[in-house]
Amino acid sequence: MADPAGTGDEVLLAPIERTGPGFYWIVGLLSVLVLWGAAAYATQFVGGLGVTGLHQPVSWGFYVANFVFFIGISHAGTLISAILRLSKAEWRRPITRMAEVITVMVLFIGAGQILVDLGRPDRIMNVIRHGRYQSPLLWDATSISAYLTASIVYLYLPMIPDVAILRDRLAKRKLLHTVLALGWTGSLRQQKILNRAIAIMAVLVIPIAVSVHSVVSFVFSMTLQPMWHSTIFGPYFVVGAIFSGIAALIVAMIAFRRAYGLQGYLKPVHFRYLGQLLLVMSLLWFYFTFAEYLTGYYGGEPEEMKVFWAKFNGPFGVLFWGMVVANFVIPVVTLVSLRRHTVGKVLLASISALVGMWLERFIIVVPTLSNPRLPFGEGTYWPTWVEWGEMAGSFGLFALFYVLFTKFFPIISIWEIREGREVGLKEVEERLLTYLPDHAEPAHPPAGAVVR
């Protein structure tokens, strides 16, 4: 039966059972950020978008950059977790839950940016009632809805055995845990049902996740705006999304490792593997960036070149080169050797990548609008305190949701850890033998993971 007693996994339940003063301090601090965001939004709601730095021709600024950034971060979870699950990467066990939570939380925040950018949120009803599918914006709405739904399901299903542990062990929140556990007893039939459902979801969420950021890129690339109309924007955005997603996951892992004393679960080896993934994504990002800008430069189309030079040595030069340093130079230099100070190096590279990827989103959105193809005249964009406040509030809200989640549910999947101990070791050995030349492959693949 699902009970972690005696397995040494009590530390995973400790944050749910006990609340220290540090938790209240963090919640208080994040609440201040959220309140700042709320005040900024209230100001905008009353005064309209005129209180922001948005104007013609730069009608998209921080909000849309944040939207693309947050949706990109969402690839941390579902996509990475699904790929690691399907590829039977055993080291995934302590990190899948954290990754999946990031996805769900950040999708809410990302989608919310569009509501903020609308100025008048009631206009969302126009999209629902009179939307036209010839607009990529509506493709976005559809694919993000699918991704959010799939991510919630994909987060919830592997949580069921852990919620059953909470139901059986904790006296508080009994009704919540009993309802969410869905009568889980860990019987063979239930294990079979849950394993099958998780496997279906793992396969399903990968194309959905890829489609989401492709479609986000279509919002830009389906226009004829200079430096947006690009055929590689889809994969370019997906690569950037996975890159920033891994970085966000690493930062979350290090924060909770320290806060909840999870050093026994989140070991340097996990950070080394994720660091190597981050390095690969950094190189891929640079390759796509290089291909994108070289192609534009070689074409030499006048409108395109105006935006190009605005980024290279014009008003956006500092941000552009900052992006290159943060996304490529710092990650490559720090991650090329991870034998010593692994966690510190990976953390530095991840924070750098997050900053760099936000700059990249900004660099994609604003310079093109500042130098439009149509004869609007050039424009500049300076965010006001309203946009800064909304941005701080969005990050604060994301972190607050995440911290609160850890007070209700285990942030590391208890049953997956147990399964690793009880079944995983033997299964890996059997699987390894099948790879070797002098061992025949079994007629049927080894039975799937057993949920306890």
Binding site: G131, Y133, K174, L175, V179, T185, S187, R189, Q190
Partner: protein
């Protein structure tokens, strides 16, 4: 393992099935919305373009998601219900 009493047991089951019902309503609503948008596109002569094709892919995706949700809810709750029924019969018969 501690189970809730019979009264709260009914409450729990009701909430769990209500959650499943909410999932049906939510995903059903999205499917109806997508259908409405496709009909709008058709009516306005936006044409049977790739966009309609892309949107049509979304409906089976949502229906698959709903299928997975209902499969899990029915599978897990169904067995839990059977088990409780057996326990009740056993208690009545003094086993």
């Amino acid at each position: 393992m501690s189970h809730p009493g019979p009264a709260s047991d009914r409450t729990v089951r009701t909430i769990q099935w209500a959650m499943a019902g909410a999932a049906v309503l939510f995903i059903g609503g999205i499917v109806i919305w997508i259908t409405h948008l496709i009909r709008t596109a058709w009516r306005l002569g936006d044409g049977p373009s790739a966009s309609i094709g892309i949107s049509l892919v979304a409906i089976p995706v949502f229906l698959t998601l709903l299928g997975v949700i209902l499969y899990v809810v029915r599978g897990l709750l169904g067995e839990a219900g059977d088990r409780r029924e057996r326990e009740t019969v056993d208690e009545r018969e003094g086993i």
